[in-house]
């Protein structure tokens, strides 16, 4: 199709659920209820590492209205969560503050809470470890018997079918470093495990359906990912997963293992639907955070500003349990190569380590962000040593058509069709980079008294996961019972969690079928009733669902053309769809309606699929200017620009908001103030609620510009690729660069709180 003929693609179109959202009609899980539903709650461990010596649940069990109280004594210890299966749903050993001691189901939430208070526990408190590098040491407290030195077994079979991939070793490192004129070496940490903090807390309702079958309604942005990750917990189990609108996820609400498995267990023993929600405090203290990262690395750059050698040891702190963190490590390794795509010599080794902290899980940025936040500071040092302009260096090193890299499946991929040079140049120009950039360690502006300084920085990132995972869709053409129109139904499993993609896909189908967007409907997200789809995680939706639904629509169109041949007496190439019918292209022509072609009450069903493909990495670049008050140590971002080339832009307004979204979900502000602070004496998070945990309020936002190019990349029919996930992924490192330039001293400690600034300035 010719882009200039698009009726909906590339234009702002009101989301199908828009009116429901502004009227309060949109349904989220918390608004939904089932007949006979009861309420689940859990008793949580107050200690980061402890053994349950005694537990007495008699009184709780006898409380009126209580349907079940479960402890490790009541549940198979083979029901293990995580990959590799490691952590019993209920265990005798507590591994983090907030770990599940006991589960209760009761008639009301109040009775459940009362029952929790009646449980008596005696703990043996064990020594604990809170730091990834400490956890690796001889003699450190061991969380799991099977993880020697707390190192998690690498490899996640659904992601890595050829075997585990955790170590990138290619080229000749020594030779590579020999070619380098500038080398930086250090350990950088990004390990404060900030909270993604979706507004809607994690929750699930489970209903037991006999044998080991369960229906789960969840606050998951991907029912299918929930299903595959949790299917390894109870042997031979099958979960059917349904979702509603999801109140923010940012990648963080996918598998929901703890709430889901809690609800599942309770539903089986009570044979009642059980609703299990975490409170906000539980979400913040016991639910999944960002990964912790400690990276010891050496990076070499040649005299032309090309990275030639990378040696790095990446310690990934996954908290008290590993739920497919291996996938994030694989993607992190991949993303590092995209940023340093001309480098042929790598030794990037990784260890996933368990510690006695709340689990880390999937968050927007998916491993790549955490690694990038560390490696970019060292790339910056080599640039500084060579006195290079960072924009020029990033431009030279970033992946483009023909570059090769290893992705998280462990296989080698070659970049296809993409080139982001223009996007980098236009973004830099719009930000006025050349005007503002005064060199390394040089502020762009200094107040008269010298106390307030400004500096600029930039960061770059990309992800090839935009083509990940196989996806299918049906497109059904259903003529209306009365009248001459038809509805086109997209049958595909996709949850709306804010990106507007359910509507964007309807736009694509509307283009192919040449019907108004309003006539395209989408089935509710449900893993049984829809064909396979991994949801929108990782910005994959544009390509994966985009290709699946547009192919399905093309297939439906083909069938209609075939049916129309006897009527129109021209070959399919001479036909097109118009006005709920098929017409000949030549005018004046003939017309036959879909209603005439399709037997009464039946539909035409087209099928389309996407097969996994990692060859079109996306791109996002952040430019920003910060202002530092040297008297107070306060840093604020005053202006920010997000630049990308999304291929064909599907919906400018929603894409722009995805760009803005890079400020949220523990992204930009992990460089400034977002962190979980844990009391080293007790192992308890002090940032346990939204009053203690710092987040950016409405009146503190910087001005924000976007650059969104709309190149026609060879991805699928509509030449687009997804980009939202990584919008903030390079923002933290860009902020550090800007701060360092403003104050003239390098800052490399996340987050750059006033203390950190004072330390850098030698004032502490």
């Amino acid at each position: 199709m010719d882009p200039k003929d698009y009726k909906y693609i590339g234009k702002n179109v009101q989301r199908k659920d828009a009116k429901d959202i502004v009227t309060g009609k949109a349904v989220f899980l918390d608004d939904f209820t089932l007949p006979k539903m009861i309420f689940g709650r859990s008793l949580k461990s107050p200690y980061p590492h402890a053994f349950i010596k005694e537990i007495d649940v008699e009184e709780a069990r006898n409380l009126k209205g209580v349907h079940a109280v479960l402890t490790y004594k009541d549940v198979s210890q083979d029901y293990k969560m995580g990959w590799p299966p490691q952590k019993p749903i209920l265990s005798q050993k507590m591994l983090y503050v907030g770990d599940t001691v006991a589960l209760v189901a009761a008639e009301t939430i109040e009775i459940a809470n009362e029952a929790i208070d009646l449980i008596k526990v005696e703990y043996e408190i064990l020594p604990f470890v809170l730091d990834g590098l400490e956890a690796l040491k001889d003699g450190a407290p061991q969380l799991y018997e099977e993880f020697d030195h707390n190192i998690v077994t690498p490899g996640y079979p659904p992601f890595q079918k050829d075997g585990a991939f955790w170590h990138l070793e290619i080229g000749d490192l020594e030779q590579g470093f020999n070619e380098c004129a500038f080398i930086a070496e250090d350990t950088v940490s990004f390990d404060k495990k900030p909270a993604p903090l979706a507004p809607e807390p994690p929750g699930a309702i489970a209903r037991y359906d006999g044998d080991e079958n369960y229906t789960v309604w969840a606050t998951s942005q991907s029912g299918y990912i929930l299903k595959i990750i949790n299917s390894s917990v109870i042997p031979n189990s099958d979960l059917t997963v349904k979702t509603f609108n999801v109140g923010g996820s940012y990648g963080n609400k996918q598998s929901l293992t703890v709430p889901v498995m809690s609800a599942v267990l309770l539903s089986k023993v009570t044979d009642r639907p059980v609703r299990f929600f975490q409170t906000k405090v539980e979400q913040m203290t016991a639910y999944e955070t960002r990964l912790g990262s400690q990276v010891k690395a050496k990076i070499g750059m040649d005299k032309d500003g090309i990275v030639r050698a990378v040696k790095a040891d990446w310690t990934v702190d996954t908290g008290a349990f590993c739920n497919a963190t291996q996938g994030q490590v694989g993607v992190g390794i991949g993303e590092a190569q995209l940023v340093m795509a001309k480098c042929k010599n790598w030794d990037l080794d990784t260890n996933i380590v368990v510690t006695n902290k709340q689990p880390a899980g999937i968050v927007r940025g998916y491993g790549g962000q955490e690694l990038n936040s560390c490696l970019s500071l060292l790339i910056g040092r080599t640039m500084k040593a060579g006195n290079f302009d960072p924009v020029e260096v990033y431009k030279k090193n970033y992946v483009s058509d023909g570059d090769e890299y290893f992705w998280r499946d462990g296989r080698k991929w070659k970049a296809h069709s993409i080139d982001y040079t223009e996007a980098i140049e236009i973004s830099a120009e719009k930000f006025k980079w050349t005007e503002k950039w005064k060199g390394w360690g040089t502020p762009t502006w200094t107040s008269e008294d010298g106390n307030i300084v400004r500096g600029v920085g930039c960061g770059i990132i990309g992800n090839a996961d935009v083509g990940e995972d196989n996806t299918e869709a049906y497109v059904r053409v259903s003529p209306d019972l009365f009248g001459s129109k038809a509805h086109v139904i997209m049958q595909t499993n996709i949850t709306e969690s804010g990106m507007g993609q359910r509507s964007n896909l309807a736009k694509m189908v509307a283009e192919v079928m040449n019907v108004p967007y309003e006539q395209v409907q989408i089935t509710d997200p449900d893993t049984m009733q829809n064909p396979t789809g991994f949801g929108l995680c990782g910005s994959r939706g544009t390509i994966t669902y985009g290709r699946a639904v547009s192919n399905a629509a093309v297939d439906a169109r083909r069938q209609l053309f075939e049916l129309a041949e006897p009527y129109l007496e021209v070959p399919p190439e001479a036909m097109q769809l118009e006005n709920y019918g098929v017409v000949t292209k030549s005018r004046p022509g003939k017309f036959v309606s879909w209603k005439q072609l399709i037997p009464p009450d039946l539909t035409i069903t087209g099928y389309g699929k996407h097969t996994e493909n990692f060859s079109t990495p996306n791109f996002f670049m952040v430019f920003l200017e910060v202002e530092v008050n040297k008297q107070t140590g306060q840093v604020k971002v005053v202006h920010m620009l997000g630049g990308t080339d999304a291929g064909q832009v599907i919906d400018p307004a929603t894409l722009e908001m995805q760009c803005h979204g890079g400020i949220g979900s523990a992204s930009l502000d992990t460089a400034l103030f977002e962190e979980h602070i844990i009391d080293p004496a007790t192992g308890r998070p002090l940032t346990y609620n939204m009053l203690e945990y710092k987040w950016r309020t409405f009146n503190e936002f910087p001005t924000f510009d976007t650059v969104m190019l709309s190149s026609q990349f060879d991805t699928f029919m509509f030449k687009a690729l997804g980009v939202g996930e990584i919008a903030g992924a390079a923002a933290a490192s860009a902020t550090m660069q800007a701060i360092s330039n403003a104050i003239g001293v390098e800052v490399a400690e996340y987050p750059a709180t006033p203390n950190v600034i004072f330390k850098a300035l030698g004032k502490m």
Partner: protein
């Protein structure tokens, strides 16, 4: 507290509850958020943090934006409450201009924070029909939006403040 009745007016409809500890009675500790969501089925405003920090549960009580999770229903006796469900014209279904502005400006992503943000903005505009951008930002500083729809929200509210007709 002695047993007594509490009468609230929610979206122009009067509801009386008897207060007490028996099954079905309204307990003295029940929050307005619970009453609205669980008893009246007004699930538009959300209970997200339940500690007064996020503004997702914001409704308007006697003209003021209030976090309903921090308000006891027994303290709402004889008060007028407007929730997100009460903004559109009940007869014609026509949206409040503020709701329309949120549509026109694409002022939400996941939409979980949206009802609370709309109600907080509505209370502001009712008191001060022409707020400056700074006043809008101040009025919304208690509303959490993690998807980062703030830029578009400010455009939407400011459209109303400036009388922009789409």
């Amino acid at each position: 507290m002695d047993t007594k009745d509490v009468t609230i007016n929610a979206n122009d409809f009067e509801y009386s509850f008897s207060v007490g500890t028996k099954f079905g009675q309204l307990s003295a500790s029940e929050t307005l958020a619970e009453t609205l969501r669980n008893r009246l089925g007004l699930t538009g405003s959300k209970e997200a943090c339940n500690e007064g920090a996020c503004g997702c549960c914001t409704v308007i009580i006697n003209g003021n934006a209030v976090t309903s999770c921090m308000t006891l229903t027994v303290d709402c006796d004889e008060k007028n409450i407007t929730t997100i469900e009460g903004l559109a014209n009940p007869e014609t279904g026509e949206l409040d201009p503020l709701q329309q502005a949120f549509l026109d400006r694409y002022a939400f992503q996941c939409g979980y924070c949206t009802p609370g943000i709309i109600m907080a903005s509505k209370a502001l505009l009712d008191k001060n029909p022409t707020p400056t951008d700074t006043e809008i930002k101040e009025a919304l500083s208690g509303n959490f939006c993690r998807c980062i729809s703030q830029y578009h929200v400010i455009e939407a509210v400011s459209d109303i403040a400036k009388g922009v007709q789409k």
